[in-house]
Symmetry: C2
Subunit: 208 residues, 2 copies
């Protein structure tokens, strides 16, 4: 079993990159900036990372696996109050999206610059959408949601993901991303896309 040694420097590079990307214009940040901010030389940065894209991809992978670790259909399915559980899960995602907000905000830009990242993103996206699809079906099967035509489920799943993932792209076109703008995406999904389809049982769960 090969042990991956965690290099402190490598970690420092990643953290610096996240902080700079989050707080400045992603496009304006060069590898030299990242190295400087990490307090190391440019050559050293390239000793740890093959190139700039690799840094970003590693950050994406980090966020992605954190996401997956919090993401559990079982937890929702076994909960007494699946809707509340879902809401909590959204709050955790919100924190995550905030920590890695440049990835959400500039996803389009980053994908345009790195096709490998685009592939990763796109694959991940498909998984999330089919997960949402399954979740909607589950909530309907449990008579928590009602009145959603079966043939609308796929497009609704797509739409939910679209809002979760792209609302920050939209927001950042006219203002800064804030924790509130992240919460806004959750609100849209719940208030506009879930609550109107609550069964009586579902309504009770929400009011609990």
């Amino acid at each position: 079993m090969k042990e991956k040694k965690i290099s402190i420097t490598k970690e420092k590079i990643k953290r610096s990159a996240i902080e700079l990307f989050n707080t400045k214009e992603t496009l304006s940040i060069t590898t030299n900036h990242i190295a400087k901010h990490a307090g190391i030389s440019s050559g050293n940065l390239y000793y740890h990372y093959k190139n700039k894209e690799e840094i970003i991809r590693e950050i994406y992978t980090e966020m992605s696996s954190t996401f997956v670790s919090f993401n559990s259909f079982e937890k929702i399915a076994t909960s007494e109050n699946p809707l509340k559980e879902l809401s909590l899960m959204f709050d955790i995602y919100g924190e995550l999206f905030w920590s890695y907000r440049f990835l959400m905000r500039d996803s389009a830009v980053l994908m345009a610059m790195d096709s490998e990242l685009k592939t990763m993103f796109s694959k991940n996206q498909e998984k999330r959408i089919s997960q949402i699809d399954g979740l909607l079906r589950y909530l309907i099967s449990q008579d928590i949601l009602e009145g959603i035509p079966n043939d609308e489920i796929p497009i609704r799943a797509k739409l939910h993901w679209f809002i979760s993932a792209y609302w920050q792209v939209f927001t950042s076109s006219s203002s800064e991303i804030t924790k509130d703008s992240i919460k806004e995406a959750k609100d849209i999904i719940f208030k506009i896309h879930i609550y109107p389809f609550l069964s009586d049982k579902g309504k009770n769960l929400v009011n609990q």
Copy 2:
């Protein structure tokens, strides 16, 4: 009254840019590519345009004013069947979005590279959203739509715009933009966000 003389070369540059941006990766297209495709020299291109961004901004302005020329609240408000009129208008927008699809697809990238374009885009966006807001209120006032809480109108207007303008960003993250993917955005707005709120009167209008 100063007459703007239309330069054939300038026009040729614009058309070439649109075609290249639409059909290739926007980021990969250089001014040299555009000049070559237009059959002129690079120096000539810069005689007509101050810089690359100016070309893109001019294309954006062109699309924007075409949009506005088709965009008429009056036409909807005076129509016997406002919903059908709205649907027709969406089809025209769809054509427009197709012709300038790189602007929709890569809006985030382009804005990241040109803050002036971002400002234009953002101002335009605000106008569209308040227009949609007004339209929703009108349809409600005419008892065509019902059941939409008043305090939800602003966020729904935002959401409608978001879907119209950003669905192509989402689509292009996993596949090519097609006329179908543009139509999909319309379908989502109508099927998911309008039809469920149709009054009996509204339903009749749709079935006409």
